[in-house]
Amino acid sequence: MMMADGGNTSSTVNELSNLWGETVDLMVCESCDWRYVLPQGVLPQRCPNCFNGDLKLLTPGPEIQTVCSRPPESYLPFSVSMERVLQNIQEFASGPWFAPADLNPATLRQRLKRVYWPMWLVDCNVRAAWEAEAGYDYEVVSHQDRYSDSQAGWTSQEIKETRVRWEPRAGRLERSYTNIPAPALEGHRQLVNRVRRFQLEQAQPYSQDALRQAFVRVPDRSVEDAWPDAAPAVQDAAADECRKAANAEHIRQFQWTPDYQNLNWTLLLLPVFTTYYLDDDQKPQQILIHGQNGYLSGVKRASMKRAQKTALYIAIAAMVVFVLSLLVSGIGLVIPPLLAVGGIGIVAAVLLGAGAIMPLAIAWQVNRSAKD
């Protein structure tokens, strides 16, 4: 059971520091329970995930020891330029209509934080017997014909089509597979769906510089929990190799009886920028930015308060126009041409009054779409 604690001086932390190559503290957010590794001595900070709670020191228990005892072996550097990030922030903050006051480029830039999400990588040796169907492309000759009364008969065109011939294959393999990814966070899939795929081939060996530049999220899944996600990926890699071995273009119904040996788990760090803005209820709205390509994911909310204010101004303007039009219409009883002017003014006032609903409707629609 993890508890936020005022002290953090156990020998276990020292062991972890040695593993991570840096004197580190383990911090936890009391609001969202996200846990981070930070260089020791870093001032208490707001959680870069929920932006609601402050980070407190954490006393590591057996569970956290398990996951932290595997320091990162590699990381993906923040390769997107700051110009690109700021440009995307600018574009995001330029809408919607009636955006909250807090949703502006300067605020978002100021609150930008670097975070590393963890991902497990596993290496293993596999011995297995396998069976599958291997697909071989082959060509057949077909025809497309055309008939027309006006062109007096048939014209025929020979075409070639590619088909697949499936043949059974079996065999044995003894191969090694390296860097098979598996999620190290419970909500990994949802997070990655928001910012899209990472280019894992750009990984570099871990250095303490990465730790100093960012918040490093600690895994909350053990390697035992992560293995069921890695095993299918190992099977896919093996199936592809068996396809190549059989000199086939396709493979299907791959089955095997694997014997895994020498599993070696390492950690890979995935780069993400986070920032936030406050909505009408002063609730932080998280924005994520992909650390490699700058893709931005965030919900744009409209400020109902701003919309109400704008609607009020329009309504007041409509009232003023209405009163003036009434006066002019009254004068128009004596000077007839003014009657028409007054009438037009009244119609304009009614239309303007009806238009006062628009800001509210727009803000409501924007927030409804954001929920969907």
Binding site: Y138, E167, P168, R169, G171
Partner: protein, 427 residues
């Protein structure tokens, strides 16, 4: 997964990745790979032949019987696809080459046509089946329908057929030379395909419209044709379309006996051919496929035209896609004979499975012209009587009308008879 490794019937094959072994099913061995198979009775050494009556290989000397062990595969018989390799191999012509066979029984050397698949030695009577020709392995016949109709029945079938039409000469039934039937396995191609067509055409609809006749100063109605564009889609699945594989026999006659029941196809076994003639194809696959495609697209075009709301069609156009095209090379049983009548040769072919007969027959044109004359005479006569009695008023008109109708009917029937008579002699 199989518990034993490697799975039974699998052999090792090349692997392109170190550390991975690959096994594949062993190729099916062709049971009898001999280039030529000779049929001798294992009991008495006499020549054996396939017996239609007994349905197996028999020896007429000692009664030895050996049934072919091949199952009936019917329409499930495997089909091949139109790969460029198959088309290229199938286009290798047989040409006019002849193959020299040395008889294993008596040592005689005989030249046989290259497309002959079976041969009986003229010296000792031993039966041989030629199974392989150089690189034509993919195009060996793999299926056939065994003979079901015995040779002895052919003469009776033919005599009955010869006397079945009133247009033939009366003496035709007694013509000589009808016992010289040759039992021949003829080559055929079968084709399967799906055709998908999109069509578009102007379709005429008869509509009645009113118009004002200025001359008669009144409203009248008339029927006009209104043309409207229509379109549609048709899909046809064509199964086992038969095309003859030899150009040496009349395609008209072959077309008439094509009603083979392909549900009785069996796997090829040389025992079925023992004692019979058999021909390999001399019409290549590509040409046969062209013929089949022509039939398929005409069938599809007719189906498209039938989809139109009326039969008045113009500016018809369609796009047609062939898909799932497959083919088979099969041998089908026939009896072929030729007879002479009044210095002319006529061909007869009998379907060796169903007994259906077709062929050429001489026409007694005297009978035909008499019949035509008899058909036209009443109409002409009544027409003339009608003309003569016209001054008598209504009676002449009625008689003339009846005569006209009879004349028209007679002309139509005469044309039909004339066409049928012409076709009887066609080949």
């Amino acid at each position: 997964m199989n518990k034993t490794f490697p799975p039974p019937g699998y052999i090792s094959t090349e692997s392109l990745v170190t550390g991975i072994e690959v096994y594949k099913p062993a190729p099916v061995k062709i049971e009898d790979e001999r280039e030529t198979v000779e049929f001798k009775c294992p009991q008495c050494g006499a020549t054996t032949a396939y017996s239609v009556v007994d349905g197996g290989l028999t020896c007429t000397h000692c009664g030895y019987y050996d049934a072919p062990q091949k199952p009936v595969v019917g329409k499930q018989a495997g089909e091949m696809e139109f790969t460029p390799q198959a088309l290229a191999q199938a286009s290798l012509g047989w040409g006019e080459e002849r193959k020299e066979l040395e008889c294993q029984s008596c040592g005689a050397r005989t030249l046989v046509p290259s497309e002959s698949l079976a041969h009986t030695c003229v010296f000792c009577g031993s039966n041989k089946v030629i199974q392989r020709m150089a690189s034509q392995d993919n195009l060996r016949p793999r299926f056939l329908i065994p003979f079901k109709v015995a040779m002895e029945k052919c003469q009776g079938i033919t005599r009955q057929w010869l006397g079945s039409s009133w247009m033939t000469p009366a003496s035709l039934k007694q013509v000589a030379g009808l016992n010289a039937f040759a039992a021949v396995y003829l080559p055929f191609w079968t084709f399967d395909s799906t055709t998908d067509a999109n069509w578009r055409a102007e379709v005429g609809h008869q509509e009645t419209e009113s118009y004002y006749d200025a001359g008669d100063k009144e409203w009248k109605t008339r029927t006009v044709t209104v043309w409207r564009w229509e379109s549609g889609k048709v899909q046809l699945k064509i199964d086992d379309l038969l095309v003859g594989g030899t150009a040496k026999l009349s395609t008209i006659l072959l077309d008439k006996i094509k009603s083979f029941n392909l549900n009785e196809l069996v796997d090829y076994d040389p025992k079925y051919l023992a004692g019979f003639h058999a021909r390999a194809y001399d019409l290549p696959l590509e040409k046969a496929w062209e013929i089949a495609r022509q039939q398929m697209r005409e069938a599809t075009r007719n189906a498209c035209r039938e989809q139109a709301s009326t039969s008045q069609i113009r500016s018809f156009s369609m796009n047609l896609d062939f898909s799932d095209e497959t083919w088979r090379y099969v041998l089908l049983p026939t009896y072929v004979a030729a007879y002479r009548y009044e210095e002319k040769i006529f061909q007869v072919i009998i379907n060796g499975q169903t007994g259906e007969i077709t062929g050429q027959r001489p026409v007694d044109w005297a009978k035909v012209w008499l019949a035509i004359a008899a058909l036209l005479a009443p109409g002409l006569l009544l027409g003339l009587i009608g003309l003569v009695t016209l001054p008598l008023g209504g009676l002449g008109v009625i008689i003339g009308g009846i005569g006209f109708v009879l004349l028209v009917a007679g002309i139509v029937i005469a044309i039909i008879i004339g066409v049928q008579a012409n076709r009887m002699g066609e080949a």
